[in-house]
Symmetry: C2
Subunit: 490 residues, 2 copies
């Protein structure tokens, strides 16, 4: 056995254990009895301890020094192992385990606080999570920017300064579009119909299949917060059902299917290796967003959804396909990020980015967070937050310790914009296919040009390779102007 063989065999077990940790998180959100929360915290800490010990194993440094990669794939594997090793050695094991334990129980506390609308019941836990994440950021940053150190976990190579600059370029065009749309016409009528849970979930499964989700390597369950979980041959998705608003379920499913198909589409040769995972959250979000929005909310595909829904739910009071498309693409300053339209979505992100950056840098105290949130929301959206579940308590991220994660959503939208432009050039007859409910040309192109590579290239590299040019926010903004301009007759 060469050093490379030894290293890869060791890493394979680490990857398998990381999959187990992910499956436990899935279980916690979908299946776990609530009385098990504290015990689960200890279990999560124990597996995190094992993972941390493996990632900091001194043999790794030796193997990494000795191993000679034969090709680009092996070199990429070594690069990712080295990166994980170097990050892990900076974080003390006790801190890594404390984070796993606290974030595991924090999720239940957040869900309870959200259900009862009691911010005060969540803040002490959030403060504990933030204190631990700041400690982690200090350890990782080695004198650099604290927020960058966390962001880098989700988007290797990205910096808060770059994000802030990009957000600064995007905001004026988004605000201008938002104002134009809101001034152009009153929003389309809301649905006034009851869509039963069983029928919603049946159609959700058909939608997942229409976007290429393989149910023999995944499953669909209910959860408070929709998510996708796992890599390789076990990639599960969740959704939620609101019986007055079927699009909540349907578009959550399409979104999570985008994430899941990325993982499921990775080259099988990379299974249980570092390359066998999506390369970054930004690229991940590019897949979920292009499935959900550029494909799933396109006038062509919504026509198909409209006909499907008429078959399944009968007449639900929508005048025709054009009105249906406008309803699915309603533009409104709503409270909830996950339900936001494409025009508003990135404004939700910009606000979270600024707030959490201030928290991590120690410029904003947890005690002042709710007021800061509500002030900012009113300033950006022109509406006052009416209750905590519509404000600070809406997102699971804080309880999970996912600081630095939010900007990757907008980066994903930006990447999706670039990919969509390239996809439209590569598949000229796409709308005719989408109008038949056939996504195979689009999802096939994404699998071939993005998904199959897994962690093979850097995030920006894989988008550049797929699109033939360096990604920028322009294609996304052009797409939004064109789409909503046409829908609202601007």
């Amino acid at each position: 056995m060469s050093a490379l063989d030894d290293l890869m065999a060791f890493q394979r077990q680490t990857e398998a254990l990381a999959q187990i940790a992910g499956r436990l998180s899935w279980d916690q959100e979908t299946m776990m009895p609530r009385g098990a929360a504290e015990q689960r915290g200890e279990e999560m800490a124990a597996i995190e301890g094992v993972l941390h010990a493996r990632r900091t194993d001194p043999r790794l440094a030796d193997w990494l020094e000795e191993a000679t990669p034969a090709d680009g794939v092996a070199a990429a594997q070594l690069r990712l192992i080295r990166r994980a090793h170097e990050r892990a050695v900076r974080v003390p094991s006790g801190l890594a385990q404390a984070l796993a334990r606290v974030t595991s129980t924090a999720q239940g506390i957040w869900a309870e606080a959200r259900a009862t609308e009691k911010v005060a019941n969540f803040l002490p836990t959030l403060a504990e999570v933030i204190a631990l994440k700041r400690e982690e950021a200090f350890a990782l940053a080695e004198g650099g920017d604290l927020y960058d150190a966390l962001l880098d976990d989700y988007e290797p190579g990205a910096t808060a300064a770059d994000m802030a600059a990009m957000f600064g370029r995007m905001r004026p065009r988004l605000v201008r579009l938002r104002e134009a749309v809101l001034a152009a016409a009153p929003p389309p009528p809301k649905l006034d119909h009851h869509f039963g849970e069983g029928a919603q979930l049946r159609f959700a499964r058909d939608l997942a299949t229409a976007f290429g989700y393989d149910f023999t390597r995944g499953r669909l369950d209910l959860a408070v917060h929709p998510f996708s979980s796992g890599s390789g041959n076990d990639v599960r998705i969740t959704t939620r059902v609101v019986e007055t608003d079927p699009f909540n379920c349907f578009y959550s499913v399409i979104h999570e299917v985008g994430h899941a198909c990325y993982e499921l589409g990775i080259d099988r040769d990379y299974l249980l290796t570092p390359l066998g995972n999506g390369v970054s959250m930004g690229v991940h979000e590019s897949q979920s967003r292009i499935y959900e929005n550029q494909l799933g909310r396109s006038p062509a595909f919504t026509g198909w959804i409209h006909r499907q829904m008429l078959d399944r739910f009968g007449d639900f009071g929508v005048a025709g396909p054009e009105e249906f498309t406008r309803i699915v693409n309603r533009v409104e300053p709503g409270f909830i990020r996950t339900e936001a339209d494409e025009v508003h979505y990135n404004l939700h992100i910009m606000m979270r980015f600024d707030l959490e950056r201030a928290l991590i840098r120690g410029e904003l105290a947890v005690a002042d967070l709710e007021a800061a949130w509500n002030d900012r929301f009113l300033a950006d959206f022109g509406v006052a937050v009416d209750r905590p579940a519509h404000g600070l308590l809406q997102d699971v991220h804080g309880s999970c310790g996912l600081f630095g994660y939010f900007p990757t959503y907008t980066l994903g939208n930006v990447y999706a914009g670039c990919l969509h432009l390239a996809l439209r050039e590569a598949v000229p007859g796409l709308d005719e296919q989408l109008a038949r409910g056939d996504t195979s040309a689009a999802t096939g192109w994404l699998r071939e040009n993005v998904q199959r590579h897994g962690g093979r290239y850097l995030p920006q590299e894989v988008i550049t390779l797929a699109c033939g040019e360096t990604p920028s926010e322009e294609p996304l903004l052009d797409y939004l102007d064109a789409k909503f301009g046409a829908l609202y007759g601007l």
Copy 2:
């Protein structure tokens, strides 16, 4: 930190990781998409590798030598840690991981072979499992009996010779009772009614609650083979539903609730320590069996079930409570162990014990197993096996590598007989309570006298403490003679 503190802190994480491995097995049987089977095998091998490394960690020997137990509880903890350590160091890590990998995938192969009635599709895998288990037995036995080495894993201190002697004493009385019952009267009529899955599962949940199962620390799902899984505050049960035979579901649930309540009833102070698990499979089975049979199939409790079922399912064609009790206690030489009546059940075990002992000792080849099974079944039950799912393929145990497990079922029945005798003395008005569907005095006595102790005492010790005398098979056989004598007017 003293050596004892260090040891217990280390062990706590090992216990947490063992819980994770158990949860993965639960997931595999209930939730996992089938395309994930191979990957899951690698995951199981990886976590088994971690557990094996911890159980063989050289620091354990040092801590065990230095640690000074302050009381009986600490001494019992050390005894169990030492036992696990000494067993683990005899088994090479590669073998432990190979067993985890092979048995993980073998379960899917078994389920498929059973569904398609193709023995030949399972035998190569079974042969592989047996070869690995024999290798493990050689490593553990250190020159002693191979089967004993495996049996000891499930029932510390038990030997095959003791089991064989006990079975020899039990068989004549069981056969005599069986003959008398079968000669006395034709079996009661079978149910001829449809019992919908939803209604069965609703009643199953109420039955579980009636026996004290805490759904805030567990859950009920469907699986091919009913089982209970987990310790501490996350103990889950499964059942299956046959719409023509509701007792399959109902009594599986009561049985698994017995197992689950044992784990849930253990002293909270023992959580995530070696004492925080049921002490042996025999004691475990004593709980599941006394819940299922001595309580659940008693004429008093079946009267309550009968009234509940009339409320829920309407008239399902049973003349009255006496006939209902006879139906629930039907005595018949059926094919399936898990559906066997109390008179036949132990005969199923004796046959499996002899066959698997011969397999492990190398006296029976896997190629000859089906013929040996069918010959023995005909000899013991007077009926020829009509298809593999009714014969060799009925049990999950072989695919899981659970050799040495079967005799603990009968040992559990024997223990249940002893506990039932003591319980009846301790709770004189028990039948009046059971007739109201109230099991609290019975389950409370079992929790107080058996369950709460967890691994604190040796298996025989805990039964002796609860009953005030050394366990023997006599109370079980007396109970069976009395119960079935009364039911069949012998």
